[in-house]
Symmetry: C2
Subunit: 190 residues, 2 copies
DNA sequence: TAAATAATCAACAACCAGTTCGATAATTTT
DNA sequence: AAAATTATCGAACTGGTTGTTGATTATTTA
């Protein structure tokens, strides 16, 4: 990434903007947050904001990108092995570790597509694993199964976060694992 | 509902506004559609729009409400029986029947919550059916199971629509039925 | 045809979006 | 420490949207 050390002023500015945006996102979706509003809250000149980002959406994008890369990196090893249950477990763990940030980004007003992007890291592995285990040869069915599985998993994770992450990451991962196992098996026993 | 027959002008005005909104929603989410833009497209005075609706969101709300009531009504009988597979099948059928409208409302730029609202008509029936079959007594688990099931079902339906509704409503319903089948069993064999 | 209702038009003040400018302050380099 | 660089700021400006007003015109209904 960008290794050139940034001016201290820039670092502070971006920090204030990031925190303000996440704060505002607790009350309204990103699309309803204006640059003016954001800058007022962050006590940053609107001009300064524009010299760093094109829009609040772009700022959110950069926040998400950083989180995405962080999580992706932590999943790298497991991803290679194709061990889906472990993959899910580590995702839950990573979310748990980045609790504050995830609570906002994955909330009602957050970005519904973010978590999907992460699960999609294992899209190909999932499909080929199902194919190998003889669940189906029909690509369309497998994609439907994948759509069902990921959406269901995301919903469970979101509900988990929404309810205050009372269960442990491991418990949630085990639960999702059971759900997935069942869906796949049902498709097979046609 | 409001049975007073409306002025013909009012009917036309609302018709133009509805069609324009659905047209614009093919290209951008509701939150990004301004009253000005909508009225220009519909060739309706902005003032007239405000005399009927508070915002584009409110207009969409009224469109959705009408569709919701229509679908809800067609599900009434089945809902009483608690026959979930038939319930799902009829939902798919209803979506198929209202294809044009659903394509927009349930698209990427549409309202993610709409379909959930319909499925939620069977929330209590689902939970109590699971409870009766002894899957679990733990309410939290049951709610997680419900979250997983509905989100997965919605994803499959949305993908079905997105891919052009090539499969028949019945085929999709059967597929979803399989996914949901025995989601219990796994949870049970804890 | 007259009365009631609806749509239109024009104009309003308040706000936001981006952009430019020059002044000021902080930081880095020499 | 002084000079050069860079970031922030405040102000101003154009062009746009918002939601509301009151007056006017067209349509419907009685």
């Amino acid at each position: 990434m960008n290794k050139e050390k940034e001016d201290r002023r820039v670092i502070y500015t971006k920090m204030f903007l990031r925190e303000s945006l996440l704060e505002l996102m607790k009350n309204k979706p990103i699309g309803k947050i204006t640059p003016t509003e954001l800058c007022r809250h962050a006590n940053i000149n609107r001009n300064t904001f524009y010299s760093h980002y094109d829009s609040p959406e772009a700022l959110l994008g950069s926040i998400e990108e950083e989180l995405y890369e962080r999580i992706k990196h932590s999943l790298e090893q497991t991803l290679k092995t194709g061990n889906i249950p472990k993959f899910l477990s580590e995702i839950c763990q990573a979310i748990y570790m980045n609790g504050d940030l995830c609570k906002t980004i994955l909330s009602d007003y957050g970005d519904k597509a973010f978590l999907k992007r992460i699960l999609d890291l294992a899209h190909d592995k999932s499909i080929s694993a199902w194919k190998a285990s003889g669940i189906s040869e029909d690509m369309e069915r497998l994609e439907l199964l994948y759509a069902f599985s990921t959406a269901g998993s995301i919903a469970v994770i979101e509900k988990w976060i929404q309810d205050g992450m009372k269960l442990s990451p491991e418990e949630i991962a085990v639960f999702i694992g059971k759900m997935l196992q069942n869906s796949a098996r049902n498709l097979k026993s046609k």
